[in-house]
Symmetry: C2
Subunit: 461 residues, 2 copies
């Protein structure tokens, strides 16, 4: 696109002002891409916290001493100084309190308490998510922790140094990752989950090996148990449940996360049915000039085409990039999410992509699943370790719907990506079966396990 | 399809007779599928050797003591007795000498030397491949080995027990796998390669890390060196080259394999331009009733659509299945090959799929490649190890063409499969970039390396 001289001068004198609320995954991705798309834009990021662009998913590994260097600093991917060097202004400790979409301004409270109005041409809400804080967790007791930010991690680290008995409330990704980390630190760990089984996002057959690994690792797993309160004065001493008291000097609450949408609502931006901010594929909200991306926004599921709220890091980064390009005048679209996820617990790799059988049925699809237990490498090779794969397809169409995996050598769970790649292009079970996957005995069987599962599934479609 | 009673009786009295020449990957896959497709068929497999259905790719690992149980027996996947239990007659030590396509018979020489004519309704040539035996290797010297069959492996094992210095001739898959195995046995290893570098199937930038790993592992690598002869009386004592004599008490010749097509030629079956048997997607040769599958047959490359000869285990099994279904009256097609390959050498995983830049240029495609060196896990995680990825796409169309990888933690090379899966459905570089791959710090960066490479490649298409 060539600009006329007059336009070019106007742009130079009045550069586009892009304001981004939130400086973690989506916000900083957007800032980087907007800057690349439109180097003359005036880009300002307001971040309420002390850090930008940090890897929240790395917090368990910082607590586990599994980083290349000790401490939480290694999780910061980019500093405000680095962003400034790229022409992006980052203001830490600045909380955006309100949006006037008519006037095109945000009100910002700085670290000194001063409130100013800041103009924008394009505004990105990248306000992220926050851990769900159930009523019992709303307490001043020391030793009760959430885990979302670097300060959360630092506070938990401090507590753990004088801890012996930890109760983890919640058997999802974070609870399961942290169970391994805490046992690795020699702590006694009780894990409480309200649902009938841990890792309840998975279909039934995949949950049992996860629980077995936790128990083999010395975790006291209590499922179907609801927490009713906490005990203690000053520091927590226990967790009260509908199945008795659990003694603990540290409590980690990890019962899910919810989108932070207060600012969006104040600005008149609509939420979707999921409770997160509704956006189109360009990450535009219903209010002109206002975009949303990351853990505060919902997205379309690539299999069902329906809005979902599955806040994960890659999706947040991707949405941020799309928003950044579009805010700066480019044209990009977010392809939607498959909810591909993976985590490690007690040496197991657990992964899923697309729909589970339960999710597919709930979406009204005529789904069928096959379960395969085999090995990641050739069965005769000493490195071969068990893998469990559940593959789900659609009767009639033959379409792939999803996969779930538990791998006893955790890296093997990453092989879920073969299914994720095909789901992304609307691939069929036949496409998976015909995939020319890599084979050598230390890596796979001649017919690698996704191919074997696809072959079995084809006979049932 | 409903059969009339008369037809059914005729079939019962005269069941279809399927004769299969060769009882390894393609042959036994065909036998199994044909039996499943048509349980009443009379299926006979003639195998010249002593074993059927063995994992030739596992031979290096048997020699390396890396099997779950010692010895070569573990590499036999199915025995003749097991096949007989499924109604498939397997005749070991039976060499098929000729085919009379007019009469529909093969002449077979049994272990006792008796020659008989055996009728067939459908004939499968699954005669496989054999190692290229250069003139210098045509010698009676003890200590000179090829490695293709279980007896080859057993003979080499015997030799290695009194060996100190091994010379490997050939720097392809087998030579590189065996170099690691032999060093692991404490032997001195010299590897001689005629080309300018080892792993010469890879583009230049990927070859250097492979050579570096070999040398770090103590292998004396001599590239650009041609072998002219062997020395010794009784047992080999050295390898003569155009760059001097290499002392060795054991020589492994691994300079490639060629299709075994003598029987096909005798039967009047045409070969393709690659020198292997020409077949259509149903694995039919040009002669009615005669099929070919596995290492003796060529196949179409899924990227170029051109015939290629890339004999690999999965493709052989797949072709065998297709032939088996079709011989028994079903309808199956072979999707072609991507040449996806992987091997391990000195802890490195080396993999490729689709076309290299060199192959793409040779095929007349407007190809462009990007090289990425990064880590398999999140950069800050202690488990993160270097990976090198080269991704190749087509200018104009945006089509993916191929990928090559070297991973310092060998399992990570299996992640080439994401590209292989997309290549199989004609996916684009954009499709790869938009793939929702699994992320958690012990497994990947937020943007896993195939996504980063796709992003970079997109900017050059």
């Amino acid at each position: 696109m060539r600009l006329t001289l007059r336009w070019a001068i106007a742009l130079k004198l009045n550069p586009m002002r892009i304001v981004i609320v939130g400086g973690v995954a989506a916000g900083m991705s957007a800032a980087s891409r907007a800057q690349r798309q439109r180097p003359d834009a005036d880009i300002v990021v307001f971040e309420a916290g002390e850090y930008i662009s940090y890897a929240a998913c790395g917090l368990p590994y910082a607590l586990g001493g599994e980083l290349k260097e000790e401490g939480f600093g290694r999780l910061v991917i980019r500093t405000p100084e680095q962003m400034r060097g790229r022409g992006i202004s980052v203001r830490l400790g600045h909380r955006v309190q309100g949006v006037d979409a008519q006037a095109g301004t945000v009100t910002v409270c700085g670290p000194d308490g001063a409130v100013t109005a800041e103009p924008y041409d394009r505004l990105l809400l990248a306000t992220g998510s926050e851990p769900v804080r159930p009523p019992f967790a709303q307490t001043d007791l020391r030793g009760v922790h959430l885990l979302k930010t670097i300060p959360d991690g630092q506070a938990l680290e401090e507590t753990l140094r004088s801890s012996k008995r930890v109760c983890i409330i919640g058997g999802g990704y974070i609870g399961l990752e942290m169970a391994e980390i805490l046992r690795g630190r020699g702590l006694s760990v009780v894990l409480v989950e309200r649902a009938a089984e841990v890792a309840s996002v998975l279909d039934g057959p995949l949950r049992a090996p996860v629980r077995a690994a936790l128990e083999a690792g010395g975790v006291d797993v209590r499922t179907g148990v609801s927490v009713t309160g906490l005990t203690g004065q000053g520091r927590v001493t226990g967790v009260q449940t509908d199945a008795g008291l659990i003694r603990a000097d540290t409590v980690l609450v990890a019962v899910g996360i919810r989108p932070r949408t207060e600012l969006a609502q104040a600005a008149g931006v609509s939420l979707g049915a999921t409770g997160a901010i509704a956006v189109n594929a360009r990450q535009e909200t219903g209010v002109p000039g206002i975009f949303a991306a990351g853990d505060c926004a919902e997205s379309l599921h690539r299999v069902t085409g329906q809005p979902v709220y599955i806040p994960l890091a890659l999706g947040a980064n991707r949405m941020g990039r799309v928003a950044g390009v579009n805010m700066a005048g480019g044209d990009a679209t977010f392809p939607g999410t498959l909810g591909t996820g993976i985590f490690k617990t007690f040496g197991l790799g657990v992964a899923l992509t697309g729909l589970t059988q339960a999710q597919a049925e709930k979406a009204g699809l005529d789904a069928v699943s096959v379960d395969l237990t085999t090995t990641d490498a050739a069965g005769y090779h000493q490195d071969a370790r068990p893998v469990h794969l559940r593959l789900t397809g659609e009767r009639g169409t033959g379409r792939l719907l999803g996969a779930q995996m538990v791998a006893e050598e955790h890296h093997a769970a990453k092989r879920i990506d073969v299914v994720a790649a095909l789901l992304g292009v609307g691939g069929s079970v036949q496409d998976l079966f015909e995939s020319d996957l890599a084979y050598a005995p230390p890596f796979s069987s001649t017919w690698d396990f996704p191919l074997v599962a696809a072959d079995r599934l084809l006979r049932q479609l």
